[in-house]
Symmetry: C2
């Protein structure tokens, strides 16, 4: 059986890092942290969003497209070797060059045999001050998926997707046991502490809610440290299928967090809170609308 | 202008009550609490789920269908008079008899002139130990709607709907500024305190998340007190469009909570966190599926 023998438990590793200006050093650090997590018993590890580089979307600069690489490519080749060597599943967020002019913010799922079992291209792309992602990333065209791995059914979403219950639901409906969110989110300069805390609370709350609504494990991996004008707020966490935070990293330190997840909790929670049973699928078609103008509602 | 002159503020009143075995006394209490809320400045008041009676769904008993009434009917007639007299918008949850054999758990929205401007029939019906609602309530067939009132655009959902992000989203897309949730939720006997707190936390968290995802005010009105085997947990609250709880009632006392809501916060929040801009409406059609079998996903 793929799981631990004594129970239906899977250990996930969250690699919360700070990033240097030199991609090769970040990559090396990521690989070394995967080793650390494996040593601590992790079976599925997740790296933060775009872990190979600093979060470059703070400016719009065509020079930065040089950071993109093909998938498969040098990074996935190296990570495949690590996965095989450590017998570990790796969720890695990369800047994908698909063809000149089409770049994606992509998460790759590599199984214990080193094979790429799936790829998720970030579907919801932000564009806010210091998060100019619409300049770099073509919106994903692979939809929402779950990938079978040796240690569990893995769904991946990326950062801004966090704010969209539709994304979490669709991934859950495709069978996910884990929803991984590689993330790069931080505080802007000069904000009041109260606003900073409110932002962090909203971010944590909505992701706990995805765990609750869908009865699965949510695993969020964020970076730490100051880069340019952003101070990344860390606080990577795991929420169980009832939305309880069962592990959480600090706001300012690099960490390798290894967390046991009991997969039996998924079915147990869904039997006690049978939300999936009661969805009114006959009435959800208008979710494909941008807005329901007053004239189109029954008043 | 319908709003307060000095700003774009609307005061909502949350009527958190305990219920007696005699419906006429509960109704009278409700009416008196509406008066209290009006005196405190409330412009839109919301009563808890099925406020005219105790929460009768703890057993399955055909005798209890006697509690149902037509809409319009005696309760809405009386509430319309109150609305007109107090110049207040009322959201009232009633047990609707539509025809023999078709009963609904319905929220009625009555405007300041006493007219029923809208009706929402609970779409998601629970069936859990002590919440045997599928026996009593035919699932709603009016979909998700927003109703224009003198004091704001009112969307209503009822209790179990709380767990479905789809319901909140569809109501928000129909233009709601407020999402009212009349509710009857409580603790089962003999549960550990830790589990009780986890349940309450999940309930509060997912509703705060609806406010965050949709950038609107969420207003939840729950009952208090012990009835049969359930201890209703109160803690009615208002969350602002950023998911911050701006007012919250106790777990065990009747309360008339009147809370100022600044409608400008809706647009301000949505401009800063432009989630509605970035929804991937080209990819949400599978939300109308019950489950996406592995063979139907791209693997």
């Amino acid at each position: 059986m793929p799981k631990n023998s004594k129970s239906n438990t899977v250990s996930v590793g969250l690699l919360q890092m700070s990033c240097d200006e030199r991609p090769e050093l970040n990559f090396k650090k990521g690989v070394s942290r995967i080793g650390e997590a494996a040593k601590k018993g992790a079976q599925i590890v997740c790296l933060q969003e775009l872990f190979r580089s600093q979060y470059f979307c703070q400016t719009e600069d065509t020079e930065l497209f040089k950071l993109a690489e093909s998938i498969p490519g040098p990074s996935t080749d190296a990570l495949s070797r690590v996965a095989r060597e450590k017998k570990i599943v790796i969720v890695a967020s990369l800047f994908e060059k698909r063809t000149p002019g089409i770049y994606h913010n992509t998460a790759v799922i590599i199984d214990v045999d080193g094979k790429i079992v799936g790829k998720y291209r970030k579907m919801h792309i932000p564009d806010d001050p210091l998060y100019y992602e619409k300049f770099y990333f073509t919106p994903g065209d692979l939809g929402f998926q779950t990938h079978d791995t040796r240690f569990g059914k893995v769904g991946t979403l990326v950062c801004w997707d966090q704010w969209f219950p539709e994304a979490a639901r669709l991934t859950a409906l495709s069978g996910a046991e884990f929803l991984f969110y590689p993330t790069a989110i931080g505080w802007l300069p000069g904000e009041k502490d109260e606003m900073n805390q409110a932002q962090h609370s909203a971010w944590e709350t909505i992701q706990r809610a995805h765990a609750i609504a869908n009865g699965l494990f949510v695993v969020v991996v964020n970076r730490v440290g100051r880069e340019g004008n952003l101070t990344f707020w860390g606080q990577s966490f795991v929420a169980d299928p009832f939305g309880r935070i069962i592990a959480k990293a600090s706001a300012d330190k690099e960490e390798v967090l290894v967390v046991e997840c009991d997969l039996n909790k998924i079915e147990e929670t869904r039997q006690n809170w049978p939300f999936l049973r009661d969805r009114r699928i006959d009435s959800y078609a208008p979710l494909s609308a941008r807005f329901l103008e007053p004239s189109s509602t029954k008043r």
